[in-house]
Symmetry: C2
Subunit: 314 residues, 2 copies
Amino acid sequence: MNIITKLFNIKYPIIQAGMVWCSGWKLASAVSNAGGLGLIGAGSMHPDTFLEHIRKCKKGTDNPFGVNVPLLYPEMDKIMDIIVDEGVKIVFTSAGSPSKYTGTLQSKGIKVVHVVASSKFALKCRDAGVDAIVAEGFEAGGHNGAEETTTMTLIPIVRKAVELPIIAAGGIATGGAMAAAFALGADGVQIGTRFAASLESSAHESFKRKIIDAKEGDTKLMMKKVVPVRLLKNKFFEDIEKAENSCATAEELRAILGKGRAKKGMFEGDLENGELEIGQISAYLDKIQTAKEIVDEIMKGYEEAKKKLAGLSF
Amino acid sequence: MNIITKLFNIKYPIIQAGMVWCSGWKLASAVSNAGGLGLIGAGSMHPDTFLEHIRKCKKGTDNPFGVNVPLLYPEMDKIMDIIVDEGVKIVFTSAGSPSKYTGTLQSKGIKVVHVVASSKFALKCRDAGVDAIVAEGFEAGGHNGAEETTTMTLIPIVRKAVELPIIAAGGIATGGAMAAAFALGADGVQIGTRFAASLESSAHESFKRKIIDAKEGDTKLMMKKVVPVRLLKNKFFEDIEKAENSCATAEELRAILGKGRAKKGMFEGDLENGELEIGQISAYLDKIQTAKEIVDEIMKGYEEAKKKLAGLSF
């Protein structure tokens, strides 16, 4: 038990990242049932879909679960109304200012966590009064910070800057990495990539297989002129890379991206023309497992890492 | 005691990275006297200077020390002759193939360690018969791998790929990070940035102060078309950045770099026009300390992290 398991009333300090096109109610409830905290990713859902997922998730688990809301979403007020009306108790926000919704949500008894990639934004979160932060490193999949600070570097820096509970994210897929995150100063871990490739993930089967087949160097942080995003290499990636190597403008990059690319890649399984967002640690993974197998393996690996360290004296 | 302390016959599994313009005999002997393994960085030394540093290091410490040799050095055979003639017992090689010198050096009773940034090169090291490897992540200072794999991601992947002893490098400056590296599967740590800013470092005083003043986002991996190198932002960095943003060729970048930039920046203290190589973790540091203070603090922090983990059960 620690500050994170107490905050969310969960068994293990393992948060499943709220991801576009991967984390619907099936994954979120499976992770919560396994003792972690499942998050429904609102980023790829219309309000009515979001509502449906929340209701199904409540039926799917009696354990706490939460939602992840990128604050740049166009129908934000509708989303927030649904969260409050449905009695969701945990909200992770990202990609926007933590000051706008934190107080309102907390006044309804909701715990609020905001995602940051630097100590500067961790301090803003503290000032906004959030309950915890996710500190996410350069190696994480999807949208990412501009400063490229890695998890190994970011966690001790953020730990020094704020006293808030810290959930480490980026590059974490094993119990050893969870122990590492704690040693660096974190109080919990958020895991995206490994759960994106889980059985209960709503990602397309072909995308899941591409995740577990990925090797080192198969992902790269791209689109830095628009918003940095870590992509798995494919035809679409090459188009972006070619444009960036020819000094394309942000506008030109946006034109190549177009609309619906992420859905096409991750949900519909178009591995060539779709946008495939995933973390570097995909190179470590080699099988599709259930959420419960993943949580159990992580906890086993965590105990082994603890034991290894306990036996190492100098 | 573990496989790394036994291999080098040292007290603590802390290796001071062999760095250009920072790690001469003063730093190497100070780290070795403090119980770690000091390395003389041959990369910025002519053979006669290198010889002088080895002889002074032998006088400066009775403990084991080593040398770091980038294998692209023009006078490599002279350097190797000096190593053998002077009875140096530990050689770290980098930036080249481990197959060329490993066997010859080992036949003289020398332990050989090679630096890699991927499991692919870790396997080459295994085939070359090295005694250990340094696995160095994206956040490390100076020259770096092209795949941008971070320490958090790289160590578990390399651990899965080879059974060799692994020394983790990149983003490590504290005892917590050392414990994290062990939890990820490493057997030792190599620390550059923090020792570059130590009292015994031969870096210019102004450069040391710039290191401890650095904030998140103040370093960036540049020159990817030539050879990736992590630089601290200054006037020279901006020149390179501007050229890269205008799609400069490798040849144009080399022309901007010119000759003697690293010496000018790191050794002579020209903070504007010099090349300043340093790791991301500089953003964590806030003081110049002796090598002994650094080693002692790391070991204290390591024990604290171990204790924290031992108390965390779920």
